[in-house]
Structure formats: structure tokens, C-alpha cells
Amino acid sequence: MISNILFDMILYSTPIILCVIGGNFAYKANVLNIALEGMMLSGAFVSMFIVYFTGNIPLAVAGALVSGLLLGLLFSFLGITCKGNVIVIGLGINMMVSGIAAFVLRLMNSSNIYVKTINVSIFKVNIPLIENIPFIGKIISGHTVITYLSFFLIFVVWLLMYRTKLGIYVRTVGEDEDAAKSVGINTDFYKYMAVLIGALFSALAGVNLAMENLMLFTNNMTAGRGFIAIAAIYCGQGRPVTSSLFAIIFGLAWALSVDLSTYAGSASGLFNVVPYVLMTVVLAVVSIYRYKNNKMRGYKFE
């Protein structure tokens, strides 16, 4: 039972972690990217669309990543080059992906994309030795490729953020754009990069969600995970490890809501609320803690 919940926690954390560590860069560069949701949905949709027609999995992953990058470029072009309102752009992209998916599904005369011929078990990795450890083996082993990749990427992103020029420049651009400009940093370039990293990772999250775990796409299957990732980024203030921890808390909430709802009988439908409400509460608690000494009246607006 407990090992089941913890296994699911890792399972449900994966897409959020990917969105969070990718979205951290945009957060640090002061370009709020709420299009993570749409980029993830696009990764899910494009990967399943390609698998459905070609059966070629590497091509599907590549296509999903490209679709994410294209959305990232669109976002950056409108938001950074044309200086549009990034919140509106983000919502616009979310609507566009879901709109296009609905449109294409309608043309395909179907309410979902499902590939029966490929079994999702081919993506599962059973780690030798570890899988035999009682309890822990059950939790850690048997996840998908992208899940293991995402946990590894937390470290990579930490390195990228604190130990490379890219990371320092992105943080500088976000904190003081003039300071960056005064030493000749091309601020727009680093903002683009920040958005694109997020787009790429979110698209990968979509692949994990749809293709790796279910071989199924239904519209709006991301169910607000992108927004929850943004909440986690806020809670962790853009720090890769901290905000990933918040993503895992969310994964736990989701696992609990799914696993416990089977025991809840008629009230089971209500358990789906838990992740969203929990994240709101966590966000509030983090904010209370952060501003506990603040005596300044007045508000900063994003």
C-alpha cells in the first residue's frame, strides 16, 4: 500500500518536475511563462499523433520536442521581441494547443488518440539489483525512461543555473536587465534561451504523460499540471532543487488522491480536488513565511 503510493508519487511527480526545472529559467529571467501547460499538452499531442501514424517512437519524441520549441519561439517572439503581455500570450498558447488538438481530433473523427499495438511496458526500466531490494525496489525500480531522466536533470539544471555562463546571465537578466546590458550581454537572447529550455522540458513532460505511461492522448489531459508547476516554481523561488521538492509534494498529493479514492466509495470524485487545494495551501504557507517580517505596505505586481 505505502510502497504503491510512493511509487505513484514518483510517477506523478515526473511531468511536474520537468516543467518546474525547465520553467525555473524563465522565472529567473523574469519572463513569467504560464504557457508550460500548453507546451506540455503539445508534447503529448504531437508525440501521440506521430506514433499513431508512423509507429516510430524516436520520431514521435523528436516531433514533440520540436513542437515545444516552436511554441517557445512563438512565445518569445511575441513576448520578448514584440514586448507583448506574457500572461496573455501564455494563456493564448494554452488555448491554441487545446484548440488545435480539438480541431485535429474532430478531423480524425475521434475523441482521443490511442495506439493499441504498442504496449507501454516497453518504456519501463527495471533496475537490476535495486529491484530486488524489498520495499525500496518496488518504489524506485520499474519507472519509465523519462522519469529517471527527469530526476537526473534536476542535477543538470542545478549545474546549468549556478555553474555556467548561461545560468548566471539568465539570473542577471532577470534581476537587473540594465546591469546585464551594461556589460554587453544580449539580454533578449538569454530570455529566449530561458523560455526555450522551459518549452523543451515541458514538451518532454507531455511525452511522459501521454505516450510513455498511457499510449493515449485525450484533450486537456494535462489537467492544470503546468499551472501547478508554476505554483511549485513560486514556492521554490526558482531554485531547481527546492522547487523540485515542491513538485514531489504535489506528486504525493496526486498519488494519495488517486490511491485513496479507491477506498472512498461515493466520495471518490472529491479526492481529485486534493492536489489543487494542497498546492494552494502550500503556496500560501510559503508566502506567509517569506513575508513574515515584511512591514512595507503596498504590492509589487508581476
Partner: protein, 358 residues
């Protein structure tokens, strides 16, 4: 307002419409249909026949309210993304309350239902508003997540406690005819439209002439200035969010009583009246009069989409695509004194090509 600014803002709203329709046309061509006949069908019925126009106006009523709900917060740089959730909650509450008002006289029952819807919307909006005021929690993230929570709760209630077991699909029981707003003649327009117009006039005065409207504009333009000149930004955030929630809740309740008869899982459709409201508000430049015009335009688009579904081979889902394109283009100010998008785009490409030359 100087004389020069008005045409500018109109161009800023027209350009995205043209661009979005253009790209939509390309998509229509790509699936092998004729974009001109499609657009003709799209607007002819819904704008240029009395019956169709009446239906368009009827459909615009809730959009005007959600549009105003977005406008009043966006104008103050507060992002109430919960308009969608407030709308469906208002509709649901009104739909349930209506069931207990059977024996009351029609107008009283309707009044009670609308008030219930308004209270529902306001309660939803109160949560993020208080979190923002006291703990500085980002209201946008909270409302985005609460929308999902709200949808889940309402789905639970509709499929459980409040399900109409006599029906073949998931829905709450039908509202008795006596509680629904009666239609005017053989049009779809109901008394709800009159209420919306009254609310519109009130909101116009609030946004343009009142002290609150003045403070709202100041908060949106410069929150530091607003605080320093004693506008109590925290309190105003709560006030504006409550007004926004009330408008959205009223919209949902009115939509229920003028159109829907019962709450189904598809009550607000996809992408939802709240999101439509955001588009309407953007298209109208967060200006009450603009919202009115944009709501009618967008209602015509939605209304006409059913016609293209019937009369052409283009699926009506194309409208959601065009809508998102509209939002994307509206995010950018094409022409204004400060931001010359065209110049910037030109210099952007010039920069790129000069890099290549090197």
C-alpha cells in the same frame, strides 16, 4: 483622450482580428475548404438576419459580464483568472437554488437565483483576494488552480448528490419553466439581456467616472504611486476581485436562467465563457464600450460557428483556433507611441540577416 488615440486603439483591435481570420483562412484552405464561403456563412446568418442577430445578442449577454469581470481586474493589473470558475459556480448555484424556488412567483425566484449566483462568484473570488491582500500570494496562480478544483467539485456534485437520475446523461434536474427568464416574442432574447445592459451602464460609470475607477486605473499603471497616494491597494484588490466575481457569478446565473435549464458538465463549453470573456476584454481594450462591441462580435463568431458546422465541411472547432490566435495577436500592441511593433520586427529581422552576412 486625445483625438489621435481613438483610431490607434481601434487599429490595435482590428489588426489582430484580420490576422487571426487570415491564418484561420489558411487553415481552412489546407483542409480543402473554401475560406470565403466559410466566413460568409460564419457572419451572414449571425449578424445580418434579424433572427440571427437576436440570437447573437442573446449569446453576448453572458460574454459582456465575463468580459467586464476580466476588464475590471486586468485594468488594475490584477489577474483574476478565476472568472471561468466563478462563472460555472454562479451557474451551478443558480441552477440548484432554482429547484427550490418552484413555488415562488417568477421574478422573485429569478432574483433569488441571480443573487445566489452572485454570492457564489464572490465567495470564489474572495479566497484569492484575501490570500493576496494578507499574504501576497500570487492571485493568478491561485485562481488558475482553483478553476480546476472548482470543476472537480462541481463534477462530483453533478454526478452525485444533485444528479437528475431520470436523465440519460449527467445533469442536474431541469429548472421549472416558471423560474426561467421568459423570451421576448419569438426571439431568444430574454429579460436577462436587459439586466446585463443595466449592469453594463453601472459598470461604465464605475470604471469611467467613479473614484474607484480612478483608483483602479492608478493601481494598474503604478501600484507604488497608488499606495503612496493613499489608495490602500490591498483593500482595492479585494474590492475589485469581489466585483469581478460578482459579475462572473451573475453571468453564470443569468446564462443558466436564460439558456441552459440545467447544469451539465459542458455548461460553459470549451474553452469556457470565462476565457471567452478574457478575449472579449482584450479585444475591447479593457474598456467597457469596447467590451460591449467585442462581446457582440465574438458572440456572432460563436453563433456562426454552428452554421459552418452545418453548411460547410469545416468543423466548428476552428473557432477555438481562431480565438487563440486572436488572443495571441491581441497580446501585442501593434501601434502605439511607445511600442512600435513593426519597427521592432523589422529590426529583429535586420539583425538576423546582418549576422548571416558576417
Amino acid at each position: 483622450m486625445t483625438g489621435r488615440k481613438i483610431p490607434l486603439s481601434i487599429i490595435n483591435s482590428l489588426m489582430p482580428v484580420i490576422l487571426a481570420l487570415l491564418i484561420g483562412g489558411i487553415i481552412i484552405t489546407m483542409i480543402g475548404q473554401n475560406p470565403f464561403t466559410t466566413y460568409q456563412v460564419l457572419f451572414q446568418q449571425s449578424l445580418f438576419t434579424p433572427q440571427g442577430l437576436a440570437y447573437t445578442l442573446h449569446g453576448a449577454a453572458p460574454l459582456i459580464l465575463t468580459g467586464l469581470a476580466i476588464a475590471i481586474t486586468f485594468k488594475a493589473n490584477i489577474f483574476n483568472m478565476g472568472v471561468e470558475g466563478q462563472f460555472v459556480l454562479g451557474g451551478f448555484v443558480a441552477g440548484i437554488v432554482a429547484l427550490y424556488c418552484k413555488s415562488l412567483p417568477g421574478p422573485l425566484a429569478q432574483f433569488i437565483c441571480l443573487v445566489a449566483g452572485i454570492i457564489g462568484g464572490m465567495l470564489f473570488a474572495l479566497v484569492p483576494a484575501l490570500l493576496k491582500k494578507y499574504f501576497r500570494v500570487n492571485e493568478m496562480v491561485v485562481t488558475l488552480m482553483l478553476n480546476y478544483a472548482m470543476a472537480t467539485v462541481l463534477e462530483f456534485l453533478t454526478t452525485g448528490i444533485f444528479r437528475d437520475n431520470g436523465s440519460g446523461y449527467v445533469t442536474t434536474p431541469m429548472i421549472p419553466k416558471s423560474v426561467m427568464f421568459p423570451r421576448f416574442g419569438d426571439t431568444h432574447i430574454t429579460f436577462f439581456f436587459v439586466i446585463v445592459m443595466l449592469v453594463f451602464i453601472i459598470m461604465y460609470i464605475v470604471m469611467k467616472k467613479s473614484v474607484l475607477g480612478y483608483e483602479m486605473t492608478a493601481i494598474g499603471k503604478n501600484p507604488g504611486f497608488a499606495e503612496a497616494t493613499g489608495m490602500r491597494v490591498g483593500n482595492k484588490i479585494v474590492t475589485l476581485m469581489l466585483i469581478s466575481g460578482a459579475l462572473a457569478g451573475l453571468g453564470g446565473a443569468g446564462y443558466m436562467l436564460s439558456d441552459q435549464y440545467s447544469y451539465t458538465l459542458n455548461f460553459s463549453a470549451n474553452p469556457g465563457m470565462g476565457w471567452d470573456g478574457m478575449l472579449v476584454s482584450l479585444l475591447g481594450g479593457h474598456n467597457p464600450l469596447g467590451v460591449l462591441v467585442a462581446a457582440v462580435f465574438y458572440s456572432a463568431l460563436k453563433n456562426g460557428s454552428q452554421d459552418i458546422n452545418i453548411f460547410t465541411g469545416v468543423p466548428q472547432e476552428i473557432i477555438a483556433v481562431i480565438q487563440s490566435l486572436l488572443v495571441l495577436f491581441l497580446s501585442v500592441k501593434f501601434i502605439s507611441e511607445n511600442t512600435h511593433v513593426f519597427d521592432r520586427i523589422r529590426s529583429f529581422f535586420r539583425k538576423k540577416s546582418s549576422v548571416k552576412e558576417e
